[in-house]
């Protein structure tokens, strides 16, 4: 199994979530994060004085899936989260050694 972590633009969350649902992902966990990267925070002025914020609000989606689903999930997120402008975010995939569903104690893919 794999853990897929995607960092995307907040307003894309609903779209991505719905698309993942479509393709049969049953669950995901979302965290609000601050991102730092090529996309710089906006240059804001307040009462005449100017400043730039380094961090940009982003949303992190964690999805744990069976190996055979990985490519499809990554492809789906890439498609739906894309706007084409800097700051669209990234998708990171890493290995997962085991899973347990607390309620039932099930383990392995059936627990996802």
């Amino acid at each position: 199994m794999k853990m897929i972590e995607a960092i995307i633009k907040p307003f894309k969350l609903d779209e991505v979530k719905d698309a993942l649902l479509e393709m049969g992902v049953h669950g995901m966990t979302v965290t609000e994060v601050k991102g730092f990267g090529r996309q710089k925070g906006s240059k804001e002025t307040y009462r005449g004085s100017e400043y730039t914020t380094d961090f940009v609000p982003k949303v992190k989606i964690e999805v744990f899936v069976a190996d055979n689903q990985v490519t499809k999930v990554v492809e789906t997120i890439t498609r739906t989260a894309k706007t084409g402008s800097v700051g669209d975010g990234k998708i990171f995939v890493s290995d997962l050694s085991s899973v347990v569903r607390i309620r039932t104690g099930e383990t392995g893919e059936s627990a996802l």
Binding site: E44, Y46, S49, E50, Y51, T53
Partner: protein, 462 residues
């Protein structure tokens, strides 16, 4: 975005509104006429002595002045407390609110003990009141015709107390988010005693030398606003900028709180201005009209200026404009008609907005714009009084330049200058003293942590 906003259709309402104000122009002349002379109207504080009224307490007048006193108290807390409190970052929200609240406590006691006596007590060389009224000794409930003939002397004392309270509270906007608490307490006590009390005596006290110059200041444009604005400037210059200014976001943490504060200021200011008639009736009413009209016009002017220049009107701007209007109309409110009030308001909105926008050029950190709003707005108001004042509105007042008496403008300018010099120098001295005793600024670590935690071990929100 700007291009967007200024697209013809979007900007139309603005133009429409400008037209609306323009409408005022046509009406310039009538204004004087519109206002029938109000001989029966009690004269404003400065000239109360002149009014030949039997020292009998009037229940209506007293009710009005007591209510006005409560209203002015509400201007400081919760008014200024929230107006400023909402504008700071959340880590300083509570300490900022506390500053206004605490000033109310400090000055209330100071005023009863020696403040009132210094400001309004028996004159000593036209410079200061004696300590004869220390602890309100001799300040009883029978009217004091020198100041207000139809209300208890203590009612006048209370009303004036709230002015002494709000003035230092306004200054706090200049050194917000970085002053050390102990320094703040000490500064407030010294400033109130050595700057406000004498100044109030000069301008309002029987025998005060500025009062004798014939300057018009109906409700405290010089004593309250110019003085707090100039003192704020001195503080901002001496205390220096907040850490991270221009780098970190200094955005207001709670703007609805600021608008609540601005609304309460507007609400309370009716006590501040119309209450300064020290009686209920014609003068209080025309003052009320002028106050409300100028405030609204100033808020709209600031908003429109911002809409044009920034591309979008802001809530903070509109609220700031309203406060600027309240400040500017203060000295004029008892002497001008509704149309004049509109012009005074428009001037205040545009001037103060410009001042706030240019602030960075001067490089001082007037955190919450005490200088830009009270200093500039107060000065404009004092001078505007010299332009728009009309005896047709208040026979006890004087005519301004636009009503054929250019001399008045000179007198007003003089009063402004005197106030500025005295307050600026005096404040610098006091800051030096405080610096020597407690130091002025919180430590860098304390400032970064926020004054709430570092000065009070409290958090505004949990």
């Amino acid at each position: 975005m700007l291009s967007h906003m200024s697209s013809m259709r979007k900007i139309l309402p603005v133009l429409l509104f400008l037209a609306m104000l323009a409408g005022g122009a046509v009406l310039y002349a009538p204004d004087a006429v519109a206002q029938a002379p109000a001989p029966e109207a009690p004269a404003p504080a400065p000239d109360a002595a002149a009014a030949p009224a039997p020292p009998k307490i009037d229940t209506g007048d007293t009710a009005w002045v007591l209510v006005s006193t409560a209203l002015v108290l509400a201007m400081t807390a919760p008014g200024v407390a929230l107006f400023y409190g909402g504008m700071v970052r959340s880590k300083n929200a509570l300490s900022t609110v506390l500053q206004s609240f605490l000033i109310l406590c400090l000055i209330s006691v100071q005023w009863v003990l020696w403040g009132y006596s210094l400001a309004f007590g028996p004159d000593v060389g036209h410079i200061i009141g004696s300590l004869a009224w220390f602890g309100l000794n001799g300040v009883g409930v029978e009217p004091n015709a020198d100041y207000a003939a139809t209300i208890p002397h203590q009612a006048f004392m209370l009303f004036q107390m709230m002015f002494a309270v709000i003035t230092p509270a306004l200054i706090t906007g200049a050194f917000a988010e970085r002053i050390k608490f102990s320094a703040f307490v000490l500064f407030t006590l010294l400033w109130a005693t050595f700057i406000y009390d004498p100044l109030a005596h000069w301008v309002w006290g029987v025998g005060g030398w500025v009062r004798n110059l014939g300057a018009l200041d109906f409700a405290g444009g010089t004593v309250v606003h110019i003085s707090s604005g100039v003192a704020g400037l001195a503080c901002a210059l001496v205390i220096k900028k907040r850490l991270g200014l221009g780098k970190d976001s200094m955005h207001p943490h709670n703007l609805p709180m600021t608008l609540l504060g601005a609304s309460l200021l507007w609400f309370g200011w009716f006590g501040f201005n119309a209450g300064s008639a020290l009686a209920s009736g014609a003068l209080a009413t025309s003052t009320f009209t002028a106050t409300n009209t100028a405030t609204a016009a100033a808020a709209l002017a600031w908003m429109v200026a911002e809409w044009i220049y920034r591309g979008k009107p802001s809530a903070l701007g509109t609220a700031s404009g309203a406060v600027a209007g309240l400040v500017a109309i203060t000295p004029a409110s008892g002497f001008v008609g509704p149309i004049s009030s509109i012009w005074i308001g428009i001037g205040a909105g545009v001037l103060c907005y410009t001042a706030v926008m240019l602030k960075p050029l001067f490089g001082y950190d007037d955190a919450l714009d005490a200088v830009g709003v009270h200093g500039i707005g107060g000065t404009w108001g004092a001078l505007a009084t010299g332009l728009f004042a009309s005896k047709a509105v208040n026979s006890a007042g004087a005519d301004g330049l636009f009503f054929g008496n250019p001399a008045q403008l000179g007198i007003q300018a003089m009063a402004v200058l005197i106030t500025m010099v005295f307050v600026f120098v005096g404040t610098l001295i006091i800051l030096a003293i405080v610096a020597g005793i407690t130091g002025l600024r919180a430590s860098e670590e304390d400032e970064r942590l926020g004054l709430d935690l570092s000065q009070h071990d409290e958090k505004a929100y949990s």
